[in-house]
Amino acid sequence: MTEQATSVGYERQAYDVVIVGAGGAGLRAAIAAHDAGARTAIVCKSLLGKAHTVMAEGGIAAAMGNVWPDDGWQVHFRDTMRGGKMLNNWRMAQLHAQESPDRVRELEEWGALFDRTPEGLISQRDFGGHRFARLAHVGDRTGLEMIRTLQQRAVALGIDVFMECTVTRVLLDQSGGEARVAGAFGYWRESGRFIVFDAPAVILATGGIGKSYKVTSNSWEYTGDGHTLALEAGARLLNMEFVQFHPTGMVWPPSVRGILVTESVRGDGGVLRNSEGRRFMFDAIPEFFKSETADSEEEADRWYNDKKANRRPPELLPRDEVARAINSEVKAGRGSPHGGVFLDIASRHDAEYIQRRLPSMYHQFKELADVDITAEPMEVGPTCHYVMGGVEVEPDTAQSGVPGLYAAGEVAGGMHGSNRLGGNSLSDLLVFGRRAGLNAAYYVGRVSRTGSRPQVDPEDVRRAADAALLPFDGVGDENPYAVQHDLQDVMHSLVGIVRRQDEMEEALVQIEKLRERVRRVTVEGHRQYNPGWHLALDLRNMLRVSECIARAALERTESRGGHTRDDYPMTDHDWATVNLVCRLADPSAGEAVEVVRQPLPQMPAELRSLFEEK
């Protein structure tokens, strides 16, 4: 099947559905597309099983009701919408809440071994923003269990995987008037050779953007590739101003700054204290959550065993609230020695319990920070963790505005509104990964029946190859690592947790300068496994996404969820029904991103009534 084209030299492969990304969303999509009869391929930048999903710790949110029979999809739906400050796409939130229990059970059928309740059912743990203990988990390595299960299933089904292969362009067929997907272009990291996939459907499952920030829990892969691929193919990005800073990242030593400390520490009873020993979260309960949050330590402590008669501890407020509170505590001079606050579980549980419930946290602190979390508190502070913004998709099918282009997982937007609840990502991957896979396969079926499979334009392939080789042409003396470092500084200090108009305007100026510098990047060496070259290409995507974040954040003159403004500190009713959408004015030529306002879809009355009781 492989053939060599003459001019640029590339390998060629043909599939029905090509999935870009092998995290939870990509793998689940592949399984679904395969099961629906499509010839399916997965492409990923790292080795199979190393995607971000492997790092997820706490659990998968699903209202199975194994621990609290009162739980159900309506409660989960309500929690999700409230956590997102009502800016979520209601239909996505509904599908997610309804379907996640089945998606979790399905993992068991494929070999997953979740922790159990005494009755032998899947155990569920507490997490921020969730009214009931709802996260299916395996100690604090749930993501590993999930990715391994899906990976082993995909291997058993014989799905083709192209590992260490980076997609740099979605190829379109423009011949029929409306542009539609024709395939994808990429390069093998190992050899630097190009590869062209002919495929009527492409599913983006590329994850997030966190590598544009200085302090982050995200890996080198999170350069916003899928976001950029979608924009450049003519699709639109939604909610890009909302970036989640997880309240608890490690702060010391500098080498591990940003590495995640799972929310399960708080779910399992850990509390936050400032340098004066005070549980400062009691001073930071916002009006919106007052009625459901404990106002005394006694009530908070009783909640772990009796959720009906007591309200939730403030440490388990949604992440945006906790991150902001930590930020202010540190600014007020009540932080820990290395600029964080204290997270204490040692005084709350015995060592055996902590080691059993949080083995990888125990290991991580012991090995990397010389801290024994069963005996002393951890030092933690906010870290860039997740992007709520992403490709705008049709909720039921996961299709973007471009026929044949789908998106699922962190790269898709809408589901989490302005702030994601912990545990809702892993379930999102399963629910919408499956929907994307099925619908992409159905779409290809329809295309095949009409006998009009799209064709890749060789001219597009040549352009994509030229763009990929640009950094070798050596017109400047910029080092890609230095440019990346400076971009991370800009985003961290000017478009970070707390934002201001003048700073964001400055960020946009800086981003423009960085774009100039990227044009002058020259890489050493040759095309074989050359990280400098890979980064030079990724940088373009990081700039694109950073620009979207800054522009949308500048436009939204209020504070909500993962978007906090110093100059507009209040949540504004007028903004409650507005989504911001980023698109390229002219995808084929334009660099310029434009931001447009669009009304939020209104939820039907029967769902709205869920918010009126109590």
């Binding site: 790292s46 080795l47 199979l48 099983g49 190393k50 971000h52 492997v54 790092m55 059970r105 068991e108 059928e109 494929w110 070999g111 071994l113 922790d115 159990r116 009755e119 032998g120 059912l121 899947i122 395996v138 100690g139 390595r141 590993l144 269990e145 391994r148 082993q152 299933r153 291997v155 058993a156 590992m163 190992e190 890996s219 080198w220 892969e221 030593p253 500098p254 080498s255 591990v256 590495i259 995640l260 990888s360 290991h363 991580q364 090995e367 990397l368 920070a369 080092n479 890609p480 690592y481 470092h485 890489v523 050493e524 060496g525 040759h526 074989q528 496994y529 050359n530 990280p531 400098g532």
Partner: protein, 263 residues
């Protein structure tokens, strides 16, 4: 607070290469991977290295540090003597692609040869029921982050490429053991053990267990029980069926020893 260290890093590709000396400026609390990254960012931009999580969770950054297979992200610089040269080389058992990156496809190919998990039907209410004690055994094995350090250290294949076709390695034995002990799996357990490719070539040196960053007791908890199954019982479908059924309703008990079978 920064200080300098000397590093020797293997650079080259399938055609050959050599150790190169570098002086790298590092900070307190850093790990070997930080030093490699600093080298990459400031001195040799095309230095090839794999990594993802930087927290010992993904198993990407495996290399040999002063001859010992380890994760670069979990090896603190403070564990070396002041002035000690830190030598970083690619995993020896797998073919080099470039610098510290090796071709680990052997492991992915072996994974394809495993029988798929095949569960019993669900209970009437759509759930599976398993006791925590029963899942715990498999959970130990499923902690594996696929760093392949155990694979690279195993002497059966470390310097013997010719053994690779017949031998799947400790990582895969773990998978066989996991299926074997999975409370829901219906694969024929005896045959699983028998088919665990090349199990007989393992002579229980325990080197794999020693390097496992997840502290999985690969030899004691996976390989030895599997071996026992192969040596002292031959396949008898009736006995197997019996043990399977009893196992399902007595889940916290180890499987009963079947009566000696005809040989």
């Amino acid at each position: 607070m920064g200080y300098d260290i000397t590093m020797r890093v293997w650079r080259g590709d399938a055609g050959g290469g050599a150790l190169q000396d570098y002086v790298v400026d590092v900070e307190e609390g850093e790990v070997v991977l930080d030093a490699v990254h600093r080298l990459q960012a400031t001195q040799v931009g095309d230095l090839a290295v794999r990594w993802n999580c930087k927290a010992g969770k993904c198993g990407s950054c495996s290399a040999e540090i002063n001859g010992r297979p380890r994760l670069m992200c979990m090896t603190r610089l403070s564990t070396f003597e002041a002035g000690e040269t830190i030598t970083v080389t690619p995993l020896r058992t797998f073919p080099v692609i470039r610098d510290l990156v090796t071709d680990v496809s052997y492991n992915y190919e072996k994974a394809k040869t495993l029988p798929a998990f095949a569960p019993v039907p669900r209970d009437a209410d759509g759930n599976y029921r398993m006791a925590q004690v029963d899942v715990q055994r498999g959970q130990e094995f499923r902690k594996c982050i696929e760093c392949f350090l155990c694979q690279t250290v195993c002497h059966v294949i470390r310097d013997h490429d010719d053994n690779k076709p017949a031998f799947s390695g400790p990582r895969m034995f773990l998978r066989y053991a996991e299926l074997d002990m999975h409370p829901l799996d219906t694969n024929d357990r005896r045959r699983l053990a028998k088919d665990a490719a090349g199990l007989g070539m393992c002579n229980i040196t325990k080197c794999c267990t020693e390097v496992c960053p997840e502290n999985i007791k690969i030899t004691d908890n996976a390989i030895i029980p599997l071996k026992e199954r192969v040596v002292d019982r031959s396949y008898d479908p009736l006995v197997w069926l019996g043990s399977k059924i009893r196992r399902r309703d007595q889940r916290s008990e180890p499987p009963p020893t079947p009566p000696p079978t005809t040989r």
